[in-house]
Amino acid sequence: MIGYAGRILHVNLDTGKTRVERLSEDYAKKYIGGIGLGMRLWLDNTRAGVDPLSPENTLILVTGPISGTMFPTAGNGHAFVAKSPETFGVGEAVAHGTFGAEMKRAGYDAVILHGKSEKPVYLWIDDDSVQLLNAAHLMGKSPSETEEAIKEELGDYYIRVASIGLAGEKLSRIACIINEKTRAAGRTGLGAVMGSKNLKAIAVRGTRDIVPAKPDEFMDMVKEFHERMKGPATQKYRTLGTPENVLVHNALYCMPTRNYNNAHFEEADKVSGEVLNEKFVAKIIGCSSCAMRCEHEVVVPEGPYKGTMTRMEYETLWALGPYCGIGRLDTIIKGMELCNYYGMDAISAGVVAGFAMDCYENGLLSRQDFDGLEAQFGSSETLLLVLEKMGKREGIGDILTDGVRIAGQKIGKGAEKLAQHIKGLEVTGYDLRCLKTAALGFAVSFRGADHNRHGAYAFDVKGKVDRLKAEKGRGKMVRDLEDTYALIDSFIVCKFSRGTYYKELEDMAKLYSLVTGIEMTAEELKRSGERINTIARLINIREGFSRKDDTLPWKVMNMPIPDEGPVKGAFVSQEELDLLLDDYYESRGWNVEGVPTAEKLNELGMEDLIGIVEAKKEA
């Protein structure tokens, strides 16, 4: 195969044995790569109903067909897929940097990790040589420290490493997997899956050549996209970056604040992208092969956290800031650094901290739980304490580090209602009460509360629809975006570059064909996008999900926006949600329970998976 490595590596952590399987062209074309191929491989290799933290839950690491080429942003991504310990449905997360390109050069499209090692190990993939090496001396280290130590002991600066921190070792259900110090496969708690396997890190060195199928035309396309990358489509990411959203969302009253008690943050101008860039951004760097560069590196110039350096994006800034009522950027940056140090999804970690403060204000947690601190919203000390305790799984952190759903259940007495999540995954920085297209996208997102499975907020935020209205037609809008987003994460290209694909699927199909030599049309690609969303749905159905799981956080449906302003009183009623779900299921060709029909599966060439929907019918 061209573009693809054509090889899947199986590693059995119980025995240390490895084997290589061929990637079939059928799977390549149907599931593309990235999360699509990863989910299909997970389904094939894992039985229904496994405990996410048991050895039986396979962990899949996967790249895309474009990885390793110089196509801007497309050369560098990788994804992890497993059953999520947070949602108990499909878990997947994508990261960029240089790790994915290195893995492709090592000659693998996917690595499937089976079982559990008896002792802490790390996986060392050196082209065809694959070994499990002792990681006892790495335990307790941060991902950044782990990466440094592995490069040092293997004696090569250019080795790429993805690893977990202490949170992953302690099976925190919000643990992530971090490569190159600041790039995280963040969501759905896959760091805990890695930790449950006693696998501290994956180190890769690849030396193979990558050559596209049609080199001259490919290089012409690269040139064209280099120009597009410098244009308006990426300007936001090249200048203020995603933190630009702070003031935009705040002005629209769609920035969840203080654990969804408000939709507007009165101190937003202190934590805006503008202030971040003026006072804290020290450098903007790029991933391998990117002609845009977006990674805003910030350094705290003065005060108690002076010298703290990390990457900063809107979502994490929002979660650690406004969501906790915190209007100090230095605290937020310190919090981000702690999340990277312990290896926690900083979105979830911030949302958990906001939840904990809400519990305190409602008398469900006491000062004792916070080492004597007054843990009200806005308390910097509380945020940092909670993050540290979650990272170490100590004290109250032992409960909180498993995410808001489980923490809410354990704390009880109504704390469940303060836990803002969907399918167990913490919310992100879009107030769904006043963004009703986004609300549908979030409700049906297969990995739980997330903006990255659909990007449906764009219609609401940009004013292309009445954002307060739930109406027919939104289903198809969400569905189309979901298909595109699934393809973006399967290719894997960067979502920040999505605007450079002027003809969207047509451009993507051309790229695919030029790299792989496999003829692909926009229509076929659209079907692959649909297929990838369908396989995710099938996994969730197999793991016990149904229509009732396509829901919204308690406050979104029960606590209207209280803030004086354009959207006061907004919320999403059950009737509205039902209308939106019916419309979405219909547009997908699923039945009213949200189950794909046998005809639909036949149409998508997924007849081999009809058993999953039939089992559902019988149940």
């Binding site: 080429t69 110089m70 250019y158 050549d209 050559v211 903007i284 560069r293 590196e297 350096m309």
Partner: protein
Amino acid sequence: MVKIHERKFVSADPDKCVGCQICEYACSWTKEKAFNPIKSRIRVVRVNQLANMAVTCRLCEEPACVAACPRDALTQSEETGAIMIDADKCNGCGWCIEACDYGAIMLHPENKTVYVCDLCKDQGEPQCVKWCPEEALTLVTSDVLAQKARIGAVKKLFQEAKAQK
């Protein structure tokens, strides 16, 4: 022999370099028709997230790599100052690699001979410079670099003076 003042080499501005490695891809593609950083004549170093810089041959005066070669496989171009390698004479011993202070000369993973930036003489201009999206790479002489730094420093000084007023 071209005078050192007139010698143009590929220089990376660390303030502009973002560590994206496009230069590595452009180089390995130009030279080897493959995307493979270990076959690139220019390599990116990211010491930490803030410190990024691409490094390649500096076309030294009395180059240590040439002096170190026991087989006279390395010579310096009279015309440009670029290092030329006679692949028939080179046996990959690596003394030139040890001698180079910049890590700019490397052993090819397959040919087992050394390779170094030749300023893309066949293409007419260094392709890494052409591709660099940040304009961090330039083909310059030391004199021009000094001029640029000097002008930049003075401009900054006057801006600060202006701001203080």
